[in-house]
Symmetry: C2
Subunit: 136 residues, 2 copies
DNA sequence: ATTTCTGCAAATCATTTGCAAGTAT
DNA sequence: ATACTTGCAAATGATTTGCAGAAAT
């Protein structure tokens, strides 16, 4: 939905069929997939695609700032395609699913100077935990 | 400081020399260690202690709710011994140091019903990112 | 005595890397 | 043509597991 592909092309990202499929799988998704899930979905369209290639592409998208890595307590990192929109995460404690949620207030404002210990704080992210509808 | 050992004994946690050392390493520390760091410190006092045993003990402390697992973007989880006090984390984007900070407001209150997507939300944790005094 | 730990080594899971062959520019 | 990508398989890092012997209750 957010035309990730077009942005990538404009930025001169070398396009190959596997890179396109990875970008397509991520684009506009509101749930956040693990590298393995991205690989599985990509492989539906392009059966020969290898896991290493998916990891490469994801790593580049992260460096480009088009995608963000989210690591909640589980083991596998998840990839968040909505890097440009400020938002927080809702995580299911049982199955690990992550959804984006939108802030009602800026948590940065809630950290008083004396609780900053000399840090130059530039961003705050909130992780809400609970059970998703299917796990509850 | 926080008498983790005493609490564990009261709760009937079977005590062995290795479990004691793990608890001692964690107790009252304000920095949050990885499993491997815990193992290294424990091994200074008890050279034969194995990594698997450290993982076992950490896992049990987490299940008991005495310790919390924190995973900030790196790949190794860190263990936070201050599970009983509500607090958030201040992470240095350069060196990875984590400090505890105390909330000025409860972020749970800032997530409106229509942004919960059917989840039963039970907790919220905030990660503040920036540069620590030494890295700035 | 019984139940629960410990250490070891091997197993597993997530991710990375080296390199020859393939492909976009 | 050239430089960058891919796929494979093997390497790595983090964590888990199976099991026989050791230790706590």
């Amino acid at each position: 939905m957010s035309d990730l592909l077009e942005r990538l092309r404009e930025r001169g990202w070398r396009m190959t069929s596997q890179r396109r499929v990875v970008a397509e799988v991520l684009d506009g998704d509101h749930v956040h997939l693990t590298a393995d899930e991205v690989h599985a979905r990509a492989a539906q369209r392009l059966p020969e695609i290898s896991r290493a290639t998916v990891y490469n592409a994801l790593g580049e998208l992260v460096s480009l700032g088009e995608v963000t890595e989210v690591s909640t307590d589980g083991r596998a990192r998840r990839y968040d395609p909505n890097a440009h929109l400020p938002h927080h995460h809702l995580v299911c404690s049982r199955c690990g699913t992550i959804r984006d949620v939108h802030p009602a207030a800026d948590p940065l404002a809630d950290l008083p100077e004396e609780e900053r210990f000399g840090f130059t704080v530039s961003e705050a992210e909130v992780t809400y935990r609970g059970l998703c509808p299917s796990c509850a």
